[in-house]
Structure formats: C-alpha cells, structure tokens
C-alpha cells in the first residue's frame, strides 16, 4: 500500500475507535460519578427515610425547581427484599416517579392512578416477583406491583400548590410518602 493510503486507513481506524471510546465513555459516565440524586440522598439520609426538598437549598435541588411544587423523596435498595411505597393523594395535582440510581426516570405516574385516596406500589426485582408469583401471592387490591431491572433508586413525589394557602397541604401530602422495606 502507498504511504497515503496508510495514513488514511490509520486515521479512519483511529476515528472509528474514537467513536467507540466516546460511546463507552458517555454510557459509563453516570456510573462512575457519585453525584446523582440517589447518591446525594443516601450520603446524608438512611434508606427508606422520607426526605423533603427545599426549592432553594438542600443537597438535592432539581434544575428548574418549580416554586409552586413541594417535593419529597425516599431512597430504596431492593437487595434485601421488596419495598412497599405509599403516598396520600387529595385534591392537589400530585405525581410519583421512580428514578434510577444513576439518574433517569424509570416510571412516572400522576395521582389519576390513585385508588382510595392514595397511590400504593410494591417495588420488586424480577426474581422477587417470580418468587411471589410462585407462592401464588396475589397483590392486594389497588396495589401495583412494579418489577424493576435495577435494585437501587429513588421515589420522588410532587404536589402542586398554585396558591400560597395550599402550601401547607402540599407539604403534608408529600410528607405522607412512606417507603417500607419488607
């Protein structure tokens, strides 16, 4: 091969390798850091504890935090067993989301999915779900079983209080978030 073809081939192979390196680096980045919301919360609070967010201060502050929305979260780790999650819902617009250990929303639902004044979920790993099904345990009526691919993450709950007079109620609703390891 001529010298120029050598150079072009080397460059092309190098660029392809560069693209691969870039893809791997971007995909690996979340797992290499320690500053995801989950990691910040478990650094300062025990698992399953309900943590209230402050829109201005605090270790966890969402970008573009909505001043009319109260938020709370709890960290879970399913390695020892499933978690039962519940939150009270009333007349404010509320939502619940499951975030992964390294960021990213896994599930999200609004209080329109609520039954009997609340949202109730059981978080399980696929293994735990199969074990429960093998034991022929039925999920209680109104409770959603959510199989998760990854054992660790955050439950984040929001309540929208457009009027200042509703702020107290919104705080009470997000404080009602309960995460119980089973």
């Amino acid at each position: 091969m001529t010298g120029r073809r050598h150079i072009i081939l080397t460059l092309a192979t190098g660029l392809v390798l560069g693209a691969l390196v870039h893809v791997v680096a971007i995909l690996a980045m979340p797992r290499l850091g320690s500053s995801s919301a989950y990691q910040r919360i478990v650094a300062t609070s025990p698992l399953a504890a309900t943590v209230l967010f402050d829109t201005e201060d605090g270790a966890v502050r969402p970008r573009f935090a909505d001043p009319t929305v109260e938020m709370s979260a709890c960290a879970f780790d399913l390695s020892r067993g499933p978690y039962k999650i519940s939150v009270v819902t009333r007349d404010l617009v509320q939502s619940l989301a499951i975030h992964g250990e390294f960021g990213g929303v896994v599930y999200a639902l609004s209080d329109r999915s609520a039954a009997r004044g609340g949202i109730a979920l059981t978080l399980m790993t696929q293994r735990q779900l199969e074990a429960a099904q093998a034991r022929e345990e039925e999920a209680p009526a109104g409770e959603l079983r959510v199989p998760l691919a990854r054992p660790r993450g955050l439950i984040v709950v929001r309540a929208h209080a457009p009027f200042v007079s509703q702020r107290e109620e919104a705080r009470a609703l997000v404080s009602s978030l309960s995460c119980q390891p089973q």
């Binding site: 870039h22 980045m29 797992r31 995801s36 910040r40 201005e56 939502s95 999200a108």
Partner: protein
C-alpha cells in the same frame, strides 16, 4: 501487517478524539435529545434513560427531571425572534398552552435559580392567571411592575423562562408539536 507505529497512532487518535469528544459534549452541555418548539426547548431528560447525553448531565448535576407521566418542562432563553431574554426589555408571553391539569410559568437566572424580587412573585400558574374575555392570556415579563399577569424580571440581567405543563398527553409527543403550539415570547420595548 501493521507496524507498531500505526497501532500506536490508531490508539492515540482513538483516545484523543473519543475522550476529547466526551469532554467537549459534557462541558458544553450538548444535548441532542432537545426538541425546539418555537422559542421553547424540551430537554432530553423527558426521554428518561433513553438519551445518554441527558442521562450523563442528570447524573452529574443530581437533577430529578420530570417523567413523561408527570409532565413536561420547556425552557426559553431567547424570544420568538431568537434574541436572548434580558431584564432590560419588556416581553409579552401570549398564546394558548397545550391541555394539561396545570401549568406554571417561572423565571430564573442563567443558573436556573429563582430571582429574588420585592413583590416575591415567582410564578404564574393556570390556577391564578387572569384571562381575558376571549383569546389566550398574556403574561408580561419585565423588571417594572406591569398590569395584569406580571412575572418580575431582573433589571438588566439575562434570564430564562421555564414553562411546565403537568399531567399532559403531549409529554410523549413533543416532537410532533407545531412551533405555535406553545406561547410566543414577543419583545415589546427595551431600555
């Protein structure tokens, strides 16, 4: 057969371009998953874990973005003509907002933080917006008090507007929104 020099060259080019591209995309905050609807941008975080660049940003900043089942966030850093938003100017945000159970419009500085103001007004929401007899509501954004719906802006400083629509079907169909589906941001006058 490749010579050792070629192998070293390939590895070096791979490392430099790969890591360089990673560093550049992370530090510049490049987000290919962003969808632009007029002056409003929907971040790639709405895709959950599907956008690796948005995910890398979320992991670094400790963000807790809205899931599609909760709602959608739009951010504007410029008006409908593309001029950066500045507290030296007065703006009118006018137009219908897609259906959802609630929406909020807030103003923040370029670090995404709320800006303190003497009136302590930080949001206009679907619950407290004043609507005219017919047509969509108009929200004035200016550093001086304005009649009607007014969102205070920092005098002479750049700012961003954030529009969040909660519990809305459009959260899963943002790329099919027409540019006029969201309000226009019209610049009225500048100092």
């Amino acid at each position: 057969m490749r010579s050792p020099i070629q192998i070293v060259a390939v590895l070096a080019i791979g490392a430099v371009t790969g890591l360089g591209a990673t560093y550049w995309s992370v530090s510049s905050g490049w987000q290919p998953g962003v969808v632009q609807v007029g002056p409003w941008a929907a971040p790639g975080t709405r895709l959950g874990g599907a956008d690796p660049y948005a995910l890398a940003l979320v992991a670094r900043t400790g963000d807790v973005p809205l899931g599609a089942g909760e709602g959608i966030l739009f951010v504007a850093v410029a008006d409908s003509s593309g001029r950066p938003l500045s507290g030296a100017c007065t703006y009118a945000v006018t137009g219908s907002i897609p259906a959802g159970r609630a929406w909020t419009l807030t103003l923040s500085d370029r670090e995404h933080r709320l800006v303190p103001n003497p009136s302590n007004r930080h949001a206009v929401t679907s619950a407290n917006v004043l609507r005219p007899v017919s047509g969509p509501a108009t929200i004035a954004v200016a550093s001086d008090p304005q009649p009607g719906n007014w969102l205070p802006a920092p005098a002479d400083a750049p700012f961003e507007l954030a529009l969040r629509i909660y519990d809305t079907p459009i959260a899963n169909a943002v790329s099919s929104l027409r540019p006029d589906a969201l309000p226009a941001i019209r610049r009225l006058a500048c100092r």
